[in-house]
């Protein structure tokens, strides 16, 4: 019986094992920082050296040129061992070295150092204790520290993303590390799943599931898998968006008429109407100050983005260029509005500076959907279609760095970037 139970456990776990997303970079920043990341000394040597994970993170950001270090004779594992001349010769501006020790009780300790090769001094020296299961997340945290020290901006390597996959037989809601590794299945359904939205504390996802043959909003805990129905009113229940304090959600209900925007407490009580029109009002999203809700409406004849006070009031139009502007998302720093615009016959990611109103079209793809900001406001993750297959892509908010994320064998869509790690 014990063996039978083990078999079940194995099957349960295997639900989470699936093809990983792979990420390709297109383009890069004009000025990349040349950095050397020396393999961390560790015995026994692991499959993936921590330095390789850190280097891949930095390279993927498009802001770093990660140098080949194998030709350097001396491979230091701490600050004292660094001979700067060798790294200047490699034209490195920055250098990361480190080592990992095994502690009693199956724990590990990493010590790492970030050196300024030009000034020949140490910028960072830190130690972390972690379990073997935390190996990758620890690497991502170190990459975040290096990124912030050298660029002045918060890193987003130790964050999570969610997305929906579609295969011939079913849909799944996935949560993965920001580099596409460690994908885990949160929900499997024969019916569509759309519009996943992270709670601000990163512990829950709200999403729309069609499993009962109509759109119903659920909220599900990442750690326990338990979920509850947030909204199941007559008609459609869709487009959940969390308020910045996590206490309420903006949602869209249709009842027996057109889609309208409401807010509701996170426990499903306290429903309050926000818009009252005879036209379509949908895709609400909270501005980070919690005072304003941006949304899509066709009240002017074509779908455009509007904003309304979060307590309700008179909507004001926000987008003016083009005849189809939908799916608004406000950057976490409150400065940019990303959306999907129909530009020259193609659905593309655009951003508008909220103070100046200036618009930039960022993507060069054609069927873009569902933009989602990284917590540092620097990258926009979105869904697109390449060769007839749904895939994810990312573009930096200045348009200089582009990435493609693809998963073999399935259609990927509906990305949502989780909040900053604690």
């Amino acid at each position: 019986m014990f063996r039978l139970f083990s078999f079940f456990l194995l099957l349960c776990l295997s639900v989470g094992v699936r093809a990983e997303l792979t990420i390709d970079i297109v383009g890069g920043a004009a000025q990349q920082i040349p950095i050397a990341v020396v393999p961390f000394a560790q015995s026994p040597s692991p499959g993936d050296n921590m330095a390789a994970i850190i280097g891949a993170d930095l390279r993927r950001s498009g802001l770093f040129r990660v140098l080949e270090t194998r030709g350097v004779a001396n491979q230091p594992s701490d600050a004292a061992g660094v001979r700067y001349a060798e790294w200047s010769a490699l034209q490195a501006q920055a250098l990361t070295v480190g080592n990992i020790q095994t502690l009693p009780g199956n724990r590990l300790k990493v010590s790492f150092y970030l050196m300024d090769v030009l000034k020949q001094n140490q910028l960072v020296g830190m130690e972390f204790e972690f379990t073997p299961a935390q190996y990758r997340i620890t690497a991502h945290r170190i990459a975040d520290i290096i990124y912030e020290k050298l660029t002045g901006e918060k890193g987003v390597f130790a964050t999570k993303i969610s997305y929906v996959t579609r295969t011939a037989s079913h849909y799944t809601l996935q949560v993965a590390d920001a580099d596409g590794f460690n994908s885990q299945t949160m929900l499997t359904s024969k019916e569509p799943i759309i519009s996943p939205a992270w709670s601000p504390d990163g512990t829950r996802l709200a999403y729309v599931s069609f499993e009962k043959k109509k759109p119903i909003i659920y909220v599900q805990s990442l750690s326990s898998g338990q979920r509850y129905v947030l909204a199941n009113f007559k008609g459609n229940n869709s487009a959940p968006s969390w308020s910045p304090d996590g206490k309420r959600l903006a949602i869209v209900l249709s009842h027996s008429a057109n889609s309208q925007i409401y807010t509701i407490n996170a426990d499903g009580t306290g429903l309050q109407p926000i818009t009252r029109s005879s036209t379509i009002d949908t895709e609400p999203v909270w501005a980070p100050d919690g005072q304003t809700i941006y949304f899509t409406s066709d009240r002017g004849g074509s779908p455009q983005i509007y904003r309304v006070p979060a307590q309700g009031g008179n909507p004001q139009r926000v987008t003016f260029s083009g005849g189809y502007n939908v799916s608004p998302r406000v950057s976490p720093d409150g400065k940019l509005l990303a959306y999907i615009g129909l530009v020259e016959g193609r659905f593309r990611v655009a951003v508008q500076e909220l103070t100046s109103g200036q618009v930039r079209v960022l993507s060069d793809t054609a069927k873009d959907e569902s933009p989602s900001f990284a917590p540092n406001s620097r990258i926009i993750l979105y869904a697109t279609n390449v060769g007839g297959r749904g895939t994810l892509a990312a573009v930096s908010a200045d348009g200089s760095v582009k990435q493609r994320l693809s998963e073999s064998g399935s259609n990927v869509r509906e990305p949502a970037w989780g909040p900053a790690s604690k």
Binding site: F5, F8, V15, L187, G225, Y228, N236, N258, I280, V326
Partner: protein, 183 residues
């Protein structure tokens, strides 16, 4: 026990094992205790009850609605691009279903709006809803109350895969009539 039943029981056991594992954290609010696996196709209880459910299903069926020669057998209303205007050719179809609802006050209908795949999913969900509402309003004018009709939308979610031309987009822009309760 046949192999299929055995397999079904295994799935039930397996789901039970998974959900028990997930249920340890009691701090999360619980309104829906089902495991986070929607519509897996696994029977809810022992395999023996499945056959009788299928047999019972027939008792609620309406001969009128299921007669292929009846206009009531037709269940789809098609629309032009970005439009919720009901073309005249569908009036007899809508009138027949309205008449059926008026004659069968316990019957319950769901109008399911659909769009083609172009554009944003949530916006298309609202566009599909607008089409379902347009059909419902005609039925309202014919005397049918909202208590008998629910309008929902699948947006672009049921659109044909790999469609890239009007020849198949036009099949996606429709409202389907589904009966939750037939009589």
């Amino acid at each position: 026990m046949n192999k299929q039943l055995m397999a079904s029981l295994l799935v039930v056991l397996l789901l039970g094992a998974c959900s028990n594992k997930a249920a340890k954290d009691a701090s999360a609010p619980v309104a829906d205790k089902s495991p986070a696996m929607a519509d897996t196709g696994a029977p809810a209880a022992g395999g023996d009850t499945v056959a009788s459910v299928v047999a019972d299903d027939e008792s609620g069926k309406s001969a009128l609605l299921n007669d292929p020669s009846s206009i009531l057998y037709k269940r789809s209303i098609y629309f032009d691009y970005d439009s919720d205007t009901i073309n005249a050719e569908y009036r007899p179809l809508i009138e027949a279903h309205a008449k059926y609802l008026l004659a069968h006050p316990n019957a319950r209908m769901v109008l399911q709006g659909n769009t083609d795949e172009r554009g944003a999913r949530e916006y298309n969900l609202s566009l599909g809803q607008r089409r379902a509402v347009a059909v419902k309003r005609v039925m309202n004018v014919l005397g049918v109350q909202d208590t008998q009709i629910e309008t929902v939308s699948f947006g672009e979610e049921k659109a044909k895969l790999g469609c890239a031309a009007e020849s198949c987009y036009k099949d996606d822009r429709r409202v389907d009539i589904a009966y939750q309760v037939e009589k």
